[in-house]
């Protein structure tokens, strides 16, 4: 029997009144209407973050035979007419759930700013802390009283590590950030206290808290209560991070790498109802030895992404889970003197699979050497609008920050309807 907690069940169990009162407690920002509540409850995003910037030419947009093509061939895929790099053989057989976007032109080729751009969907601005994608998804899809985390981010490598912040959405939507351990900090009980005492102590706390918060209409105080109310629920999901509970065959399917294990954890989290999970795989920044680097990293990506899509599909989760592969930018078509490729943000690729996506499609086109986008140019805001649309989130809804409306996807962004189901 599958013991995971289903968010939709919880939503029903909680009943609507509980949700309404919690919403009222957080009225600082625009809260979703009841219609939007339908979006919540069972959709998730799983972001495979290719940190450092993967080469589009060795993955989704190969140009073999051209001066910029590099040594690897392209291979046919399960979709007639669509070819990808031979470094992704497993994915090539299962493109039916995946859309490839080959026409990102995001212009910023610097790690820090590129990361910020692809993580917030817009260029930064002094005086405004824009939330990162995960925080926005957590805000849109998460339940306030959820018994599972609503934003988990795994980033074990030290290169390019950035925690990501919820910005103006507030600390409530900051990620649970896993770095050196495979389980979140402080999620397990300290051995100095027994389980019973831990629970009783919380009840005594609750006695004092209830007296204090009685009839207070303070969103901040409510958030404190909300945070403590969630503690035991979150502690109870420590098993989600324990992949020893998976069959060996399943673990083998994901492969022996750390990325594989994290992808497996990610699937367990999504299955339990976590709305946003990010798994970062570093370090794709191949200024030298681009081809050796990609031979190794693409093999890992190929196996893990294949296993993930497979596993999600078999569990009936793929149709409500959006899997994204993305990094801060792509890599130059030119091959430098160290057989490397440098930072390149003018014509690069990403993929979207599963929830709300028209699988087996390719959108956009680069020129024969991959130097420029010649068809269907998209920027970061358009990609974010596409991601929100795929999840059924109104892509142009606005948050009010002070007196200023800030749209969830940057001003002027349009979703790419061609890749949407």
């Amino acid at each position: 029997m599958n013991q995971s907690i289903n968010r939709r069940t919880l939503l029903k169990a909680a009943g609507t009144t509980a949700i309404v009162s919690n919403m009222a407690a957080l009225n600082v920002l625009s809260q979703p209407s009841f219609a939007n509540e339908l979006v919540r409850g069972d959709k998730s995003v799983l972001l495979l973050w290719l940190a450092g910037g993967a080469s589009q030419l060795e993955t989704w947009d190969p140009k073999p035979g051209r001066p910029t093509g590099g040594p690897f061939a392209k291979i046919r895929t399960s979709i007639p007419g669509i070819e990808i790099s031979e470094l992704l053989p497993k994915i090539s057989t299962r493109l039916n759930e995946t859309a490839i976007i080959r026409s990102l032109n995001t212009k910023i080729g610097d790690h820090g700013q590129g990361y910020e751009l692809m993580d917030t969907g817009r260029v930064g601005e002094p005086g405004v802390q824009f939330p990162h994608l995960g925080a926005m998804i957590a805000h849109e899809l998460g339940q306030l009283d959820s018994r599972v985390p609503d934003y988990v981010s795994m980033y074990t490598s030290t290169e390019g590590r950035r925690q990501g912040s919820a910005g103006f959405l507030g600390a409530r939507y900051n990620p649970m950030f896993l770095t050196d351990k495979m389980i979140p900090e402080d999620i397990r009980r300290h051995e100095a206290i027994t389980d019973v005492d831990h629970q009783d102590r919380a009840a005594l706390r609750d006695f004092f808290a209830k007296k204090f918060v009685r009839d207070l209409a303070s969103p901040s105080v409510s958030s404190h209560e909300n945070a403590y109310e969630r503690v035991h629920g979150l502690m109870a999901c420590d098993y989600l991070f324990d992949i020893d509970r998976e069959r060996q065959a399943m673990r083998d399917h994901y492969g022996p790498t750390q990325f594989g294990q994290q992808c497996l954890i990610a699937r367990r989290l999504v299955e339990a109802g976590v709305p946003f999970v990010k798994v970062a795989r570093a370090w794709w920044d191949s200024h030298g030895q681009n081809f050796e680097t990609h031979r190794e990293l693409c093999a890992d990506l190929d196996q893990c992404m294949d296993a993930l899509l497979d596993d999600l599909k078999q569990r009936g989760l793929l149709e409500k889970t959006l899997v994204i592969t993305l990094g801060e930018f792509g890599r130059t078509p030119q091959i430098n003197g160290s057989l490397g490729r440098d930072h390149f943000a003018n014509a690069w690729s990403c993929t979207l699979s599963g929830c709300g996506i028209r699988g087996g499609s390719v959108f956009g086109k680069t020129d024969e050497d991959g130097q420029t986008v010649v068809e269907g140019e998209m920027n970061a805001g358009d990609l974010f609008a596409t991601i929100f649309s795929a999840l059924g989130i109104q892509y142009d809804k606005e948050y009010m920050v002070g007196s200023r409306p800030i749209p969830i996807s940057d001003f002027g962004s349009e979703p790419c309807r061609e890749v949407l189901a």
């Binding site: 005594l204 006695f207 007296k211 009839d215 209409a217 901040s220 002070g402």
Partner: protein, 551 residues
């Protein structure tokens, strides 16, 4: 036409400032000053009460003595009161104790630390932890350095270079980002957020056009940092921008008020300018290069001059008056704090003008302003606990609003609460300044992992998980040794008495009957493992919202 400003040499700016300092020195802490402060407090109350009467709003009762002590100690000393402070206050003469308490706290070593910590949050905008900068701020708050003086030092750090390189941190953190220098300066010192006017005239606020944004940015355009870490300005450099019609403009050196600075013609030829620019370029990358000469025309000096001369809009004074108010009330008279413009009127315009003009006349004495505010009735109101609260709204200041503690307030308060009451009494009667400094440093690690509250602050679940499960909580705050609270409680036999002691030590108030009963029951059920039980009781109180907020 725009009047050309007289070119004030920098010396005269410094002289102006000396005058301001002398005013402050004269004011001192004499009885005259005390009665002036009371008068200001009364005028503040008059403004608030007048509006309440006008709108027929009934304010809440004043908070009880213990509640006031906790609130004002958190606000002035940056920590909760100790048990002995609580006992002393409750038994003191009710007529005089409030004024005496506030006077004592304002003059205590605690005040300078807390004021420093608050300014650190405001000025570096949570961007970094910088020990040298914090030390500089502490020196400034210890001598109650005036706000305009601090402004000069921070915006023109090169003028104090020879003696003190530390105030450079505010700009240095931002020199590589012109937009950050422009907007962070506008937000923190003038209460104005003009970022929206960068790419187009502000869509909602007609006060702010692109010319304002780039006018402000022009004052920083020439600022650079040498490799050795010094700040200086170039001899040339203007800001250009394109408006929404695609026309290119060259920005004036223009303050928020629209006042522009005429740029004197450069008295050096192109050849020499080229040489100087080479020299500047070298100094930016070469650690050994000498600092390049400084130009006579210094845009940032003009910014300081214009900001301080602006008595009409008075962004500079109104901003800090509003921020101090917001810190003590949880809401600004202009709110949000960075939206001072014609379309976001203050809730109490006369009050804000009163505070600003008093602040200006006092020579920018922030301590005096804080002193007066905490003596008002408006500051001493209790929270509103029923459904009326929503209808009245926070802008009337008819009731207290619970304010989340800052990381340092919380961390320090946990330390104070976790220390044995007797130990604390001893510390406070014997060289408290030294103990306070130690506590401040001990509080650092915990403070750095907590989020700095902002508008609409929400407590994160990771904070709750951390406080529930992190082993450091047990070690730091629930320690059973004799000088700690849990160790002290161990020696008390009666569980009811434990409840009384723990309530005063942690919640800074007496326990109610049902609370005494709940704690006693909890401990009675754990007589086999009493020390564990005591730790759990202390934890339950420390993790309560009552502890987490200043209410």
């Amino acid at each position: 036409m725009i009047p050309r400003l007289p070119l004030l040499p920098f010396e005269s700016l410094m002289r102006l400032n000396l005058a301001a300092l002398m005013i402050f020195a004269f004011a001192g802490s004499s009885e005259l000053a005390a009665s002036e402060v009371m008068e200001l407090a009364k005028r503040i109350d008059d403004h608030i009460n007048h509006r309440l009467a006008e709108e027929n709003v009934q304010p809440t009762e004043l908070v009880d003595a213990a509640g006031f002590l906790r609130r004002v100690t958190l606000d002035l000393a940056g920590r909760i009161p100790s048990t002995s402070e609580l006992d002393a206050y409750l038994s003191a003469d009710a007529k005089e104790r409030k004024q005496q308490l506030v006077q004592r706290l304002i003059e205590s070593p605690d005040f300078a630390y807390h004021q420093r910590n608050q300014l650190d949050i405001l000025l570096l905008l949570r961007q970094e932890h910088n020990d040298q900068w914090r030390e500089y701020l502490l020196e400034a708050t210890r001598e109650n350095r005036s706000w305009d003086q601090l402004f000069r030092e921070v915006i023109l750090p090169e003028d104090t270079l020879s003696t003190d390189p530390r105030p450079v941190a505010f700009l240095k953190r931002r020199t590589n980002d012109l937009d950050a220098m422009t907007n962070d300066t506008s937000v923190t010192w003038f209460g104005v957020n003009i970022a929206c006017a960068k790419c187009h005239d502000h869509p909602l606020v007609s006060d702010w056009t692109q010319a304002h944004y780039y006018g402000m940015s022009a004052f920083f355009k020439r600022t650079f940092q040498t490799r050795q870490g010094f700040l200086s300005e170039r001899f040339d450099g203007t800001t250009k921008y394109t408006n929404t019609d695609g026309e290119e403009h060259e920005a004036d050196f223009m303050f928020l008020t629209g006042t522009k600075v005429d740029v004197p013609a450069l008295e050096i030829d192109e050849e020499e300018l080229k040489k100087l620019n080479e020299q500047i370029k070298t100094s930016e990358s070469d650690e050994k290069a000498d600092s390049p000469p400084r130009p006579e025309f210094r845009p940032r000096a003009y910014l300081v001059q214009l900001a301080l001369a602006d008595e009409e809009n008075d962004f500079f004074t109104r901003n800090i008056a509003n921020r101090v108010w917001a810190r003590l009330f949880g809401r600004g008279i202009v709110h949000p704090l960075d939206q001072m413009h014609s379309e976001n009127a203050p809730s109490h315009p006369e009050l804000l003008s009163e505070l600003a003009s008093d602040l200006r006349e006092s020579g920018y004495d922030l301590r005096r302003l804080i002193h007066a505010i905490v003596l008002t009735d408006a500051y001493a109101r209790s929270m509103m606990r029923d459904s009326v609260a929503k209808a009245i709204g926070e802008a009337s200041f008819a009731a207290a609003v619970p304010r989340p503690l800052s990381p340092r307030q919380l961390s320090l308060s946990l330390r104070i609460a976790g220390t044995g009451p007797d130990t604390l009494t001893q510390w406070q009667s014997d060289d408290w300044a030294k103990r306070r400094d130690e506590l401040e440093r001990q509080a650092d690690v915990t403070a750095r992992r907590l989020a700095i509250p902002d508008d609409g602050f929400q407590v994160s679940v990771s904070e709750a998980l951390w406080f529930s499960n992190n082993p450091s909580i047990e070690n730091d705050f629930l320690n059973g040794s004799n000088d700690c609270l849990v160790g002290h409680l161990k020696q008390i036999e009666s569980n009811e008495e434990v409840a009384d002691v723990v309530s005063k030590a942690v919640l800074s108030r007496q326990a109610s009957d049902d609370e005494r009963q709940a704690i006693a029951d909890y401990l009675n059920a754990r007589s086999e493992r009493r020390e564990n039980g005591l730790k759990q009781v202390v934890w339950a109180l420390m993790s309560s919202p009552e502890f987490r907020f200043n209410y």
